[in-house]
Symmetry: C2
Subunit: 219 residues, 2 copies
DNA sequence: AGCATAATAAATTTTGAAATTACAAGATAA
DNA sequence: TTATCTTGTAATTTCAAAATTTATTATGCT
């Protein structure tokens, strides 16, 4: 909880709320009242309004005219939609990166995977994710973002980020079961190898398999 | 220009500015000053600020912290990016629609094309686009949106709309040359036929050919 | 008791002005 | 002359309070 005595400016408040939202510190559909937040951050209602507005543009917050803001509620249908869309973007981004990426890109991807796999093996050893959750969460993002980073399409990359953040918003909650991570290690490895081999079809396949697990239980 | 004496509410101001932006009534990169717009629409600077914020979320307006808003500047690079991304989304949306769409979808697509081709043939006869430009602009949008409307992915459809609007923002300006429309008629027909025949590969090809013309002159 | 209606409370939105920040032109120093 | 600093102006951003709208509770009627 931020100190009430320290005044934060708009970007800081944005970052703080963004972090809280993607780490599921609000319930799905929970009302975000200007007045409450105003007191927490020590600013005017208008500033809060603007921050929530910005957050609504990246899908983390839902806005309804005349009735304020809520933490985004993710239905199974929406989750399905998010997953399919993410697969589309990551496959395309990876394909383009494999075509345009140079040795520098390969190095960055390799490095990102190295960090990620280091954290994942620690999770494996300890059997629990909790202690390194923020670390792991960032490393996972780094890997996927680096994968598509040479796609040469700012639009695709930005769109992917907004989708990913909404994804993360609820992945954190199901992160407690370990089996998830066991497969993750293998899958990230498979994606990396295919990417470095510039095998587009195979890489697309692995990306699909990796992400499609989130579809289980949804039609 | 809206009457200064008539007060408009936020959604109206949004619509008015949105329309002006997609019909290129502002120069690329032109500064959008709160104070000026405030006087035009007869509201406070804060209301203008909120509207401009909303427009910035759909890419029509660029916002920079502490230095206000500008009409979005579209470089050749960005135009290239927009085109490629639009191709990706429309191809995927059309493919999904062909898989999920029922007879009702076919009927709507057929109707949209009928309206569009009627307007396009008028353009052909008269040799000029100007008189029916708004009509044509809407019909074109209707056709493309209907094409992907059965994709069963709200995310894809929303994203497509924001991309399309940014597209339209500058297509209007190059709409004056007639040759453009001559090919358009054939291309829309080709897309329609392939879609109704549920030939995904062919439809993707036609979508690409139709949209890729905008890439001419850009690397 | 059930339902509609009115009164109250709570929250959102807008306003107008104050405070902050960026921009531009002129002055001073190197 | 070039570069840096100052000063004045214009624009953006924040604030606190008023006005509007929505939600909640209480009241009266069938």
């Amino acid at each position: 909880m931020p100190d009430t005595s320290v005044k934060m400016d708009t970007p800081d408040i944005y970052d703080d709320l963004h972090r809280k939202l993607v780490t599921a510190q609000f319930d799905h559909g929970e009302k975000l009242k200007s007045e409450e937040l105003r007191q927490i951050y020590g600013c005017s209602a208008n500033t809060i309004r603007e921050v929530l507005f910005r957050l609504s543009t990246v899908g983390l917050v839902a806005f309804e005219e005349q009735r304020g803001f809520r933490a985004r509620r993710t239905s199974p249908e929406r989750q399905h939609d998010l997953t399919q869309f993410r697969i589309l973007l990551e496959q395309e981004g990876a394909s383009l990166s494999m075509r345009h990426g140079d040795i520098e890109w390969e190095a960055r991807l390799s490095a990102a995977h190295h960090k990620l796999s280091h954290i994942e093996s620690e999770v494996r050893r300890s059997g629990t994710v909790e202690p390194v959750l923020p670390l792991w969460s960032n490393a996972e993002w780094e890997f996927h973002d680096t994968l598509i980073s040479a796609c040469n399409s700012p639009l695709l990359r930005e769109t992917y980020k907004t989708i990913y953040d909404q994804f993360r918003q609820q992945l954190v909650s199901r992160a407690s079961n370990y089996g998830y991570y066991g497969d993750n290690v293998k899958e990230h490895r498979a994606i990396l190898d295919a990417a470095l081999a510039r095998d587009e079809a195979l890489c697309r396949q692995h990306i699909h398999d990796h992400l499609a697990r989130n579809l289980i239980g949804v039609t």
